[in-house]
């Protein structure tokens, strides 16, 4: 795939996608809407301090070479243009994983920096008398808890995700939350979670009664007694082999108390918080040794011990339903080395 010639008039290079060709063959090809993308653009090149004037702000952006159109399923628009009614927005929400120690103590997990993954352990698999989690905990010596147990089994762990405005220019009070997020439709009441359905068949999320707020002692409290599973999925239209499931998004009530604002000890967002969710996953029970051999690795060590594991690395995409912000979570599906 080459760049398009951008030396003359603007031209359009249009192709049918694989799905389009399939629909055409089936006789139900019908285009009813369009969307726009800007995947190639690095807005960091926008130089609004250029002393030559506004005409020079986007000089570099306008010279961005554009690749030819291609037709695969994931060839579409990764970062689309969005329409908001107001033109005076200055901030747009971000999505972050919260690994604050105060949250970790309440069940949130970290990324294992050694392998840059979160572990999703199939704890039904044993080596001798020790299950996967027991062995893995012994091998992870950095002190970080980075292990999810498949289908939320045993002691509940989760990946905690927040949306909001990660800026110190705005206070995280409820007034700003309402002005910058809630009143302009930039809060997520649910998140879509896209997983490779070959490996993950269930997503767990918070129940409606969960909350994240400051208590009377000015400490952040995550009230999350349980997670609920969602196995209802739709096939992802953007990613091959992926399916999409939804989990609830809960509006954050973590506002700074009077006096000292200590909310940054609990939240990953420096400014107004939007919604949060807590995620866990279920490993597809039909995964076999040959799947681990084909898509991952088998009999690998993860630490100093002699324990060996089978694992598959995959990416889970978490997207805010209203804000369209996306977080990519690297997940290592792992089990003690098995023979079948």
């Amino acid at each position: 795939m080459a760049f398009l010639d951008n030396s003359g008039d603007i031209i359009l290079d249009a192709v049918l996608t694989d799905v389009g060709r399939k629909r055409m063959a089936a006789g139900n090809f019908r285009i009813v809407k369009f969307a726009l993308g800007d995947d190639e653009i690095d807005y960091g090149l926008y130089d609004k301090t250029n002393t030559s004037g506004p005409a020079y702000y986007d000089l570099e952006i306008l010279q961005t070479p554009i690749l030819e159109a291609f037709s695969q399923k994931n060839a579409a628009i990764n970062y689309g243009l969005v329409s908001y009614a107001r033109n005076d927005l200055l901030y747009l929400p971000t999505i972050l994983q919260n690994t604050k120690s105060s949250l970790v103590s309440q069940g949130a997990i970290n990324l294992d920096p050694t392998y840059n993954v979160h572990y999703l352990a199939d704890n039904t698999k044993f080596s001798g008398n020790d299950n996967t989690v027991t062995l893995l905990k012994a091998d992870i010596t950095n002190g970080l808890d980075s292990i999810l147990i498949s289908n939320y089994g045993g002691s509940p762990k989760f990946i905690f995700v927040e949306t909001g405005l990660n800026t110190t220019e705005l206070s995280s009070n409820s007034q700003n939350q309402n002005s910058y997020l809630l009143s302009v439709g930039l809060n997520d009441n649910r998140f879509s979670v896209e997983c490779d359905k070959r490996f993950i068949n269930a997503v767990w999320g918070p129940t409606a009664g969960a909350s994240f707020s400051m208590d009377a002692n000015n400490e952040g409290v995550l009230s999350l007694s349980t997670l609920t599973s969602n196995t209802t999925s739709t096939t992802s239209r953007d990613l091959q082999n992926y399916s999409k499931m939804f989990v609830a998004g809960i509006t954050s009530r973590l506002y700074p108390p009077t006096g000292n604002d200590n909310t940054s000890n609990y939240s990953a967002m420096a400014g107004p918080r939007g919604a949060w969710t807590a995620l866990s996953f279920g490993v597809n029970p039909s995964l076999t040794l040959s799947d681990y051999q084909r898509y991952g690795k088998t009999a690998q060590s993860q630490g100093a011990s002699s324990a060996t594991y089978d694992y598959i690395d995959t990416i889970v995409y978490v997207r805010g339903a209203n804000t369209n912000v996306v977080l990519q979570l690297p997940i290592r599906i792992i089990r003690t080395a098995q023979t079948s």
Binding site: L36, D38, D39
Partner: protein, 379 residues
């Protein structure tokens, strides 16, 4: 994917058009018999010529056909009607030559309702008048790769060497150039048969002395098939069915025994009768000087007018669009948001991406301008 969708109104945003695209197809004779042949390679042994064990036609490629780079450009074959004077069971491949003629006639002309026989090709526009019949014919069906939807009317030219067969360049010392002079793209000057429209190929060089008007074949435009009378090689005769040129072919293409290095000189009627189809096809290729025509491709297009109103698509979910949640393209809240369009996705009602289009350079979009992008899909 994080995007906002904008509906397309089928009444105002979608339209269809039909255009004809023409390509010039020049075929030089050297491709047909010279480039991969020459003195060291016998006619018929060129790498770009494919003969079949059934021996009913010969295929010509633009490159040695065993290569995956080779493109099939046309076939050559010949035949005669069973009522031809040349038809005799003693002739070489007599039944196959009749079968070839009948096949082309059946496909292109159909059956004569009164006699239940296939129509006889004629080098005029009226196949029912039985004038100017061509009972002995050369057939050149062009590959669809070249002729596409049809040959453009009034553009077909074929030039054949009528000189002495043997000797470098000698066949082309005298040439006949045939063109569909009377045919026009508006449909005038063409006849219609079951095989589609056809035009008459006239001799534009006047090199053939004939008591008849100088038409020696027809070109079927939609079928992409050329039908030439065998008499086209006749310089001394007095009619289209009379063969008088003594050296129409000789050498390997007329040899009869496997050990013969050269074959006898043959007149066209001898070649039609006594040589195998492939041998006569070799001789004809040896005399093919030039072919050119324009092809036509009908392109049906659907044009989608993707309208971006002033208040839409003014923000981006691109991760670089914000830094610390603050838009990098704004200094103040009152600044207008700016985005740069590079891609258009066209979707079905359930958000399936059916087509995608790329702009050759980013297009600036802000709330002060309204942009309409015209995306054309060709079928």
């Amino acid at each position: 994917m994080a995007v906002s969708y904008e509906p397309l109104n089928p009444n105002t945003d979608v339209t269809t058009t039909r255009t004809l695209l023409h390509e010039v197809i020049p075929l030089t004779g050297t491709i047909v018999s010279g480039t991969y042949g020459g003195d060291a390679v016998a006619l018929g042994s060129e790498g770009n010529i494919k003969d079949y064990s059934h021996g009913m036609f010969q295929s010509v490629y633009d490159y040695p056909y065993l290569s995956s780079s080779a493109n099939h450009i046309f076939d050559v074959t010949l035949g005669f009607d069973e009522s031809s004077d040349l038809s005799s069971s003693a002739n070489t491949q007599n039944a196959k030559k009749i079968a070839i003629y009948n096949q082309f006639s059946q496909v292109l002309l159909g059956y004569n309702q009164t006699s239940s026989n296939v129509e006889i090709f004629e080098s005029d526009l009226d196949i029912t008048d039985d004038n100017r019949q061509m009972k002995e014919c050369l057939f050149i069906p062009f590959s669809r790769l070249l002729s596409k939807d049809q040959i453009k009317k009034g553009t077909f030219t074929i030039e054949l060497g009528t000189g002495v067969f043997a000797g470098a360049g000698l066949p082309f010392l005298e040439r006949i150039k045939l063109q569909d002079l009377s045919a026009s793209v508006d449909g005038t000057g063409v006849g219609t048969a079951v095989g589609g429209e056809y035009g008459v190929l006239y001799d534009t060089t006047g090199s053939i002395s004939s008591s008849n008007s100088a038409s020696h074949g027809v070109v079927f435009y939609q079928a992409g098939i050329i039908v030439l009378s065998a008499s086209v090689f006749n310089q001394a005769g007095t009619g289209p069915d009379v063969f008088g040129l003594a050296t129409f072919a000789s050498g390997t293409c007329t040899q009869t025994g496997s050990t013969a290095g050269t074959g006898p000189a043959r007149t066209p009627d001898e070649a039609w009768k006594l040589s195998a189809i492939s041998g006569t096809c070799n001789a004809i290729r040896h005399r093919l000087y030039n072919v050119s025509y324009n092809n036509s491709t009908e392109i049906n297009s659907t044009i989608y007018f993707c309208r971006m109103p002033v208040n839409k698509f003014n923000y981006s979910s691109n991760p670089t669009y914000t830094s610390g949640s603050k838009m990098v393209i704004k200094n103040e809240q009152s600044d207008l948001p700016v985005t740069y369009v590079t891609t258009i996705g066209l979707y079905s009602s359930n958000n399936e991406l059916l087509a995608t289009a790329k702009l050759s350079e980013p297009l600036k979009k802000d709330p002060t301008n309204e942009i309409t992008l015209r995306v054309r899909l060709d079928y």
